[in-house]
Subunit: 390 residues, 2 copies
């Protein structure tokens, strides 16, 4: 056992290593989760199309809420008034909130960035907001997730080096302020109740990634995230960044790759030592008629599935009782139940994919699993909507 001191809200136990891949357990105030794990995204505090009871039934581990969305609507004070994000959403397992930074940079209009923070207008109604490291942590303390994120600047993948370098410097300064706000005494949250993760930025520049990682590590926080990826770069470039950064991170702490990804992305990143993932793809692609399978994404609207009596695949979920032909019909008829069943399937598929990877790591056969999985995947991938992978 290598638990960290009890003063940390979240601790990590490493159980097996196979190459760079790791299997372990993340211990949180709302239960333990085996890693590598996929965290489902409840953007506005609810999984899209999936109730918390259904998420429990399919074995979902961590659920993630978006600080930007929740702060704009219904507001962090309202969530706190209704008991915090766990009681608000009904999710009883571990939760994570991001810092709001990513959405400010991707969704908000009329942004003004300074070293102090970001001033922006809501994408909903144009209301003016201000987000600083202190404000992001204050909101995340009100929300009350088990894991919270430091406020960072996430530049686009094609930003000039000077912009990335400035973002790394800001991310470093904002991390120090985030840590102070997280450690501060206060009515809610704090270091004993919530774990703060820093975010490594640096784009595709090796020296900037290394600089950002070293800065993140000097705060000795309970885990570490790699950000600034899944923003338009190629699969190869992303994995190159992981090859630089992950070996720098301490083995005893969990590593979180933000916003990633497709099943192939997850397998590639687990192979490089990542422990935690989040992504909107399982529910978003489900709403768009895509079912993930070992053979690749299955586009259920295709005519060939109209009379197909088989289930999507052998993933246990509420979608397993009905045929591809039935789900094809629902999606063609614009019935919301079609997107719901595909979302349930995809979350269950992701959960089971992580479980299969954990079993392979513990058995010392992850490389064989990886190669077989990659070889089998992709038959149907042609024509799948762009998901950020080139």
């Amino acid at each position: 056992m290598n638990h960290q001191p009890l003063t940390s809200a979240v601790t990590f136990t490493l159980a097996a290593v196979d190459g760079a891949a790791r299997a372990g357990t993340l211990h949180t105030p709302h239960g333990a989760v085996p890693t590598p794990c996929f965290m489902a995204v409840a953007t506005c505090g609810g999984l899209k199309g999936v109730t918390v009871q259904q998420a429990e039934e399919l074995g979902q581990g961590v659920v993630l809420g978006n600080t930007y969305h929740l702060a704009l609507r219904p507001g962090a004070e309202r969530v706190r008034e209704l008991g915090g994000l766990h009681q608000f959403s009904g999710w009883r397992g571990p939760m994570l909130t991001d810092s709001g930074g990513y959405q400010v940079f991707s969704l908000a209009s009329q942004r003004k960035i300074s070293d102090e923070g970001v001033w922006f207008r809501s994408h909903l109604d144009g209301t003016a907001f201000n987000l600083t490291p202190e404000e992001s942590i204050r909101i995340q303390r009100l929300l009350g997730a088990d894991i919270i994120m430091a406020f960072d600047e996430c530049p686009p993948s094609d930003a000039p080096r000077a912009d990335i370098e400035r973002a790394v410097a800001r991310t470093s300064a904002w991390l120090a302020r985030s840590v102070d706000a997280w450690r501060a005494e206060g009515p809610y949250g704090g270091a004993a109740a919530q774990a703060l993760y820093p975010v490594v930025q640096g784009g595709l520049e090796r020296d900037l990634r290394e600089r950002s990682a070293l800065d993140a590590l000097r705060h000795d926080l309970p885990g570490c995230a790699v950000g600034g990826l899944a923003v338009g770069e190629t699969f190869t470039d992303r994995n190159r960044v992981l090859d630089w950064v992950v070996p720098m991170l301490p083995a005893a702490k969990p590593r979180y790759l933000m916003g990633v990804g497709t099943p192939l992305d997850l397998v590639a990143a687990v192979a490089r030592g990542i422990d935690q993932f989040d992504c909107v793809l399982p529910t978003r692609m489900g709403r768009h008629g895509i079912a993930y399978t070992d053979a690749g994404p299955l586009r259920i609207k295709r005519a060939e599935y109209g009379a197909d009596p088989r289930p999507l695949d052998d993933t246990p979920s509420q979608a397993a009782r009905v045929s591809r032909g039935y789900i094809h019909h629902l999606v063609k008829a614009n019935e919301m139940l079609g997107g719901q069943l595909l979302s349930l399937h995809n979350l269950a598929y992701y959960r089971r994919l992580m479980a299969r990877m954990r079993a392979a790591i513990r058995a010392g056969r992850f490389a064989a699993f990886h190669d077989a999985y990659v070889a089998g995947y992709g038959d149907d991938a042609e024509g799948v909507p762009d998901d950020g992978r080139a």
Copy 2:
């Protein structure tokens, strides 16, 4: 025990009578259901926003599919190819299909009605279709529900008497043809596998209602439906029709009031001896932000519910874990999960309302239940979307 001969697919056991209200059991090839019962509407073969597993969990009895919608898309042959409506949809309990008549008259364009049947164009893509008594029964045999309906003509509530009289005559002639098609030998369905119900028409004209009822009864079918209501008439007019028709129907057979209604409508019709109901309101109103409660419809979007920590009411459903404030937030944010939770709540509320009525009938205290329920209902009813009741 007063089961009908084993040759009937569906039989009815009457267990208790309290005034005109009755409690019994409907026995079908896919299980027995206590009555009075509410049948949930799966228009295109799927409940809107609710999986079959969720419907099982909340205790849903019968599920209804719409012949018109299923015949247009994906087509009855496709449903049969995929195992029939039960296997297609995954619903393992009793099912009922309507005849398609109601939707032809309310949805289709360019209708031409003759004594032979109806020619019309699909509301989806303008494709030409033809529906006759024989074709409706052929489709319903392919679909394979436990209870199927005779093809009838349903005029609007404000139709002139001459139109209603002609519709009663057509309904009578079409019933005889429906019965022949139902009794015929054939590859699927038939009288031993499916129960056929006739439909009593006649608008608000007492003599026409009586004429239609007498005609329906002469075929000695396993049950009887009252149609042509919930088409714009007042609550008072509807109950007057039930007061004329229901006493004419045999006590030993189930009576089905088509397309009704709100909780108050159900209580009023059970008081008059109705055993089966169907209506889209629980899921449709759920998607529109309405939760049914004993105090009346609760409009969750109202500002007063934004910070309300209470559950919708004490109905056990997947919505019971979260607060009114949370569902208010989801609905305001246009999250599909909001409509899903309200649909689950409403179906569970309807199921429990029927169970409470059954218990009251069996205990001989239905009149007291009725009066207390009606007195408590409606506080919040002002401003509820029009649902066909004047």
